[in-house]
Homo-oligomer: 390 residues x 4
């Protein structure tokens, strides 16, 4: 087992850990350790909500979740010699739940508290608890389903430079300004309350808390991409923006469907991740890299039979939208949920199933004006009974 660079005590929130991590992005958050290129190490992670959700049958914790505390991240880890313009090569060697904490949760956030992809259809909070048994997950709240996890960090990336951070804050503020009272909001802007910023303290901490970007959206550095394929064996090439790269991660998912549609949206868990790091000097320019690129590992769950649903960019009111993949995928999700209701699932259960199982969401056609066509593929083997039409 590689050395644990960052350990956690699951009984405490992130800010009370011996060495706290962080829940905002800022170049001035100090690295918790420095390693050489070629090193392997382990980071332990609290679940993304900082332990707010409990293994019980009551969704009140989901409903009342305090999102000023998310996502709690482990790191940053500095890589000696990495400089802006380099590529940081990260191999995900392995990832898992803690032996004494083999469970995870999925939640539908309430519309009042950021909601989710289908919040207009399912505005109320709901929760499913998942038991992790080796490679498999099952849920007492979603009987009839069992699947192999495609375990991954929902969030991983390097610290932004000051310039990149400014750009993020500016463009997100401009978006929010277009509809400042929207529920749910268009974006989450810097929020000093409950900011955890590693070892920073005093005035420095106050300044950084004011400036630091929220961790919710994916951005140029990767971050909260929620790409399910960043699983075991994956090699990721990250852009480096600051000296040392300052790599952080968290938001471990035992499994997730493409889109992570219920927002609290995968099987969220605490756990550990083993990484190997290396550096390609000057790699950003050499390969014209703006966002991370990656090569997935060879052990993703391999299901061969899928039932696939289509969606097009016409909304419920019958209004035609122009090549809107987001809407098309929403319709594909809704079509799948309505279908699954015929097999004994409630709408909320089906919604959480699409969020958690290894569902493929594809941009199938995106030029046939005016309709985009998105598809959502469900592996049929995850059900304990046949689900094809007969």
């Amino acid at each position: 087992m590689p050395e644990v660079l960052f350990g956690v005590d699951l009984t405490k929130p992130m800010e009370d850990q011996d060495i706290p991590g962080h829940n905002r992005w800022h170049p001035d958050i100090p690295a918790i350790a420095a390693v050489d290129p070629g090193s392997s190490f382990r980071l332990e992670c609290i679940d993304w909500t900082d332990g707010q959700i409990h293994n019980n049958d009551d969704a009140t914790d989901i409903k009342d979740v305090d999102l000023t505390r998310v996502h709690v991240l482990s790191g940053p880890v500095a890589i000696n010699g990495a400089e802006p313009g380099d590529l940081l090569v990260v191999d995900i060697l392995d990832i898992g739940a803690f032996p004494n904490s083999e469970w995870g949760f999925n939640g539908i956030f309430s519309k009042e508290n950021v909601g989710g992809f289908l919040t207009d259809y399912y505005p109320d909070a709901a929760k499913s608890i998942w038991d992790l048994q080796g490679i498999y997950a099952t849920s007492r709240h979603l009987p009839g389903v069992k699947f192999a996890g495609i375990t991954h960090p929902g969030l991983i990336g390097c610290a932004p430079s000051a310039e990149l951070l400014d750009k993020w804050n500016k463009r997100e503020a401009e978006l929010v300004a277009t509809e400042p009272n929207r529920v749910p909001p268009l974006a989450k802007l810097p929020e000093p309350e409950n900011a955890v910023l590693g070892s920073l303290s005093g005035a420095m901490k106050d300044r950084v808390a004011q400036e630091a970007a929220r961790t919710i959206p994916p951005r140029e550095h990767g971050g909260n991409t929620d790409i399910k394929n960043l699983s075991r064996g994956t090699r990721i090439y990250f852009p480096v923006y600051v000296k040392g790269a300052n790599l952080s991660m968290g938001d471990l998912h035992f499994s997730q469907g493409d889109g992570e549609i219920s927002f609290c949206g995968a099987i969220e868990m605490a756990g550990w991740i083993d990484l190997h790091v290396d550096v390609i000097k000057g790699g950003m320019a050499k390969y014209s890299i703006l966002n991370p690129i990656f090569k997935p590992g060879p052990v993703e769950p391999s299901y061969s039979e899928y039932l696939i649903f289509e969606g097009i960019s016409v909304d419920d009111a019958g209004k035609q939208h122009y090549l809107d993949v987001t809407l098309a995928y929403k319709k594909a999700c809704l079509n799948a949920i309505e279908y699954l209701k015929n097999f004994g699932f409630t709408g909320e259960q089906a919604y959480m199933l699409l969020s958690t199982a290894p569902i493929e969401g594809r941009i199938s056609g995106v030029v046939d004006i005016p309709n985009a066509c998105a598809t959502l593929a469900i592996p049929t083997a995850i059900f304990d009974k046949p689900i094809l039409p007969v």
Copy 2:
């Protein structure tokens, strides 16, 4: 070989075929044949442009393509006993190019003539010709690349009812009305010029030509979904809207990447398709079906190593868009193209490569406000040299 229900002569346009097909959607286009559930049959297809594109090195034909003639479809085939509310079960038994026409084309349409997904970046017409050698495609216009096709009909579906047709025309006209002079247009509305409507003639033909919907967008019935996974061995369940179902298809693709991004966007070809049909009575209500669903076949090309590019919904001007998967996928495509330029491809070549090769386009994250994250995966084995960063 199953019986040929619809044959074509590639030296003639669709309207001059002995039994012409059609290039518009309308419930009153008569079926060219009727078959019983349980039947297998073959349909031959002209390429979607009706033979306007030629196997040469000059892209003028792409630039000047007359889109009033598209998509030429083979059919409709009536299925005895099928009624509105049923599901038509269609098995794609096999599909291929004609022995004497084993080539296909990919084109970038000019911005003046509908353009494509990246028309703001690549506004000029371009063309690549692909040689089909058994399961493989190669192009003299795109050296260094060879891949196995995922052959499929870009367009397949049942005739709309009069009510459904009205809905289509109304919503698309409303969209166009929001920006009527846009180049390229937001949608293509009914167009009597060059309408081919099977055996209709006289006043009937004139009326239908005025009413019939264009074939360009996918819609509730499926139609031009351009889903690459409707390949050999796939079973599709289509909603039935008219007595007899009236199934038509065309726009055969030897191969296509998710999104079909260059619009003329796959390896477009003439060819044949063998189908088996059956009916599930009352299946639409039984399974809550609004759009087609399908189960892909077991012989898709299986590549195991992918290089994957990310994109987020921030535009080139740095403006933040809200959970816009279309934009995120556009950025992933552009990121991939810039990367491939480092390996000897021109931008246009890379654009056509993403359109034609078995690229996966995924909706990876769609709830992390305000950024959607889309990913584009390229199988590395299609290149004749390594393309991973080193």
Copy 3:
């Protein structure tokens, strides 16, 4: 479609074709054509029995099959410039049944007439006829099963040199001499009766007929390897023993399980095969090649769920054999057949199913003295009902 170098008329036996092929191996059989490296071409093939088996429900033709007439091969094709010591690089571009002959047969040979792998258990002749519908095969003699074919030439290879031929004949004669009256025989030695030897005639033909090796076993050159994975898209590297290489092939299989256990053992068919050839000069020494090597294509049927049976090298009398994989695989086959009998199949049906479906036969353990362990894997999706224990 590539040029047809070798055409067949299915109404005639091989010796009556306009340009006859051959059914023995000998270096002096003249090439029917010569092509340059880099060429693509098509060969048409009669089924391996030379048309002796018919599409009916009577197994008399299997029982009485005249094996002096097998395997009828198409070729030889000379490749200009190929010389002994080179590697002939053959790409299988595509392969298929003739449009007017989309059926195949599987047979259990009677013990009196060579028998099969399980001839001691199933000594009587039996036959199943398979309907080929696009990528799928079904049989009226084996209801409840449908699978995608892994279509391949059972037999393909280059002509032996005179020295290699001598070696073959000598070693096989020595084997037969150990038990000359065995039923079935240990090997089939040169047999002038019904030898078809291309354009040879007169004394030359008589001599070659006396010397030429039978086509039944695989040998150093490949030949009748019956490797199901030589399917679409495969690249094979063949040793070259004579000037021009003289490549021949036949014994097309729509599908086959590993082992081809019933001897007449795949879904045997007539059809066509498209090839591309090239030469690696001096490749045998450069890569230490004694037998062909190959890289399978990317479109093999991909089934993900298998039920697997084990066998060990203890015979029915309870006698222990030493690391005998042949026996272990025989027991795995018998175990599978006994299992399948519980699901409504007769023993003969199950035997023919294992011969024809895309079954995997693996040498799992071969050092754990004294038992070898072989495994036989059946894809569960080929059945129309569940076959796992419950």
Copy 4:
């Protein structure tokens, strides 16, 4: 994490563990625990040699290994209610190395000490040490290779009944009697020396030690099958011969090629395995089960490009053997080794590579008298450079 039913201390041999396991098969070895159907639990395992092999560069330990001490097994675990004639359903939930022991070994045994599959070619002891980094293995003794493990128990099965044990001992003794002085021996007969028999003691232990079968060969109950596909997520159905079933296992392999050809033949490791058990009453008769059957899990490493070698049943002296798959596979292995020598590997290295990497060994043709054809498939992605012929 499920409850640890059987723990080990890696600093001590099996007989000195607090609760010792066993290294022989006998119905009278007492269960170390009893669980109900539906239970999950963990067993810890010492490597199969009982810790005799060390993480260093000296193969003396391999050469001098004391095989009277193998295989040390964890268990037996009794399953309440299981009776002879039932099927024990075992799910392999997960399996792994210990965090403080992430390494494994592969060895070529010397011909004097049982040897291996190619002992006539590689008679001397050799060793490679493998570093386990998450899903991947690499070896300082085999540079240029890295692959994802297909981790599994080499040995797992239920205790034999007294009758079955008698049958084993009798048939193996008869085999040894045919060539009693053979080096290596044809089989390993009961051996009281170093027998570890759980909690047995005194006269009872002495009797059992005289009677108990060695663990080396796979037998009707499964046992040391060395089937690499019994990996994560696999469900196995074991025949039950004694009340309680008495399930034991050991010989954990991080990875192995089909055949486990070097005998000490996988990447051998200590570690843990998590299981779930259930019972199908009367399942042996219901499904005609003589040997275990299983359904592999969905997370085997998925490599798509293979280079495949053929072998036929002609020995080095040129003698023809009759449908001898063992010999054919031996030749395929030797062909692969000779090929790999051209890429910088020694013969011993290539031999150990074939033993450890996820190599597929297939029984391709087994009826084409007199030659069997076996194939050996190597995934090309495990090498750090191209290995196809050019």
